[in-house]
Symmetry: C2
């Protein structure tokens, strides 16, 4: 089947690597949706989900769906994967840091506390959502020293700004942690096992 | 501090990559212990551990300790990491397959069933064990078709013989699975978070 029968609606190098490593053939397309506008609209109108954590699940799903539908709209033939991930710590949502100073401040806010990674995953085809999934993982940072933090930021460099949590677990970021509870693939940004299961149902992956 | 103050007593490329990715400086030394002899000795004399699964935990620890002590004996100054992993499925232990035919037969035995990866981790110094840890993870393979299995073995190739489970989760092996429960780093072969914690206690990693 042609590679373009499966599209990853994401500019994330990590998500593309996860799919490619798993042996899938696909095309990656940046959806270019206005995430800030969706978040702002959500903050105003969509708070009907009971508590802060389930609201954040819903926002991650909404962003994943917006990406999948935007790419599906111009690729009607293809099965489109949309994914998003939002971090919350003590009920507050965090975006990717825009500077190393913001990364440092966020890591100090996460230090010694658990944070939750909320993953949203959507499959769309012909402009409609076929399937979706919410997954949470809980990661607890240890009480690292400020001198450790300085050395970490120096070593990890500007890559920390590519992640909502200011870390890559497959790099020195693992040294930030005390415990990690949840699916590793979801933590990296794509709940791979349920996604593969659903792709098998659609005949996109061999059973 | 010199790289040789920390030694990984293992020839495993995956374990070395996990430590290097985490930002550690170390030397990797193949312990060249006779694992088959240790397993044979264990089968004869060491079955005082209650049940099959805890016996397998003990064997993984014994192998990890043998590797760490062997390397520590000739590197008295260094902190030495020994690690081992054993797979059990329905109470039976499996070694790395010695041929593609054996890999195929093992995967058919694992299909549709859970298997347990028993990890043993030991730190040694001056020829003595300082610390050890046992970790289990449970992975369940799905009911894949024989045509999927043939395609998988063709794609994964002889790399499957480098793993007790005949798979690399960071490759097409992930397509074999229905569920994965347990720490990802332990599944790859090294319980990284508790190891880092212990290395911090020994001043080998910055706190």
């Amino acid at each position: 089947m042609p590679a373009s029968s499966l599209i990853l609606a994401s500019a994330s190098a990590v998500r593309a690597k996860l799919l490619a490593d798993a042996g899938l053939r696909f095309e990656a397309v940046d959806s270019r949706v206005d995430e800030d506008a969706i978040k702002a609209g959500f903050a105003k109108g969509d708070k009907q989900h009971g508590n802060a954590e389930s609201e954040t699940d819903a926002l991650a799903l909404k962003l994943a769906e917006a990406k999948a539908l935007a790419v599906s709209a111009t690729n009607g033939h293809a099965l489109v994967i949309g994914a998003d991930q939002i971090l919350s710590c003590e009920g507050k949502r965090y975006d990717k840091p825009k500077s190393m100073e913001e990364a440092r401040a966020n890591l100090l806010a996460f230090r010694g506390r658990p944070h939750i990674l909320h993953s949203g995953l959507v499959l769309a085809k012909n402009g409609a959502t076929l399937w979706n999934l919410s997954v949470r993982a809980t990661l607890t940072m240890r009480e690292f020293s400020e001198s450790f933090l300085d050395a970490y930021l120096e070593e990890a460099g500007e890559r920390v700004m590519k992640s909502v949590g200011c870390y890559q677990l497959e790099g020195p970021g693992v040294q930030l942690f005390e415990t990690i509870e949840g699916d590793y693939f979801s933590i990296l940004g794509l709940p791979l096992l349920p996604l593969l299961d659903e792709l098998r149902r659609h005949g996109q992956v061999m059973s």
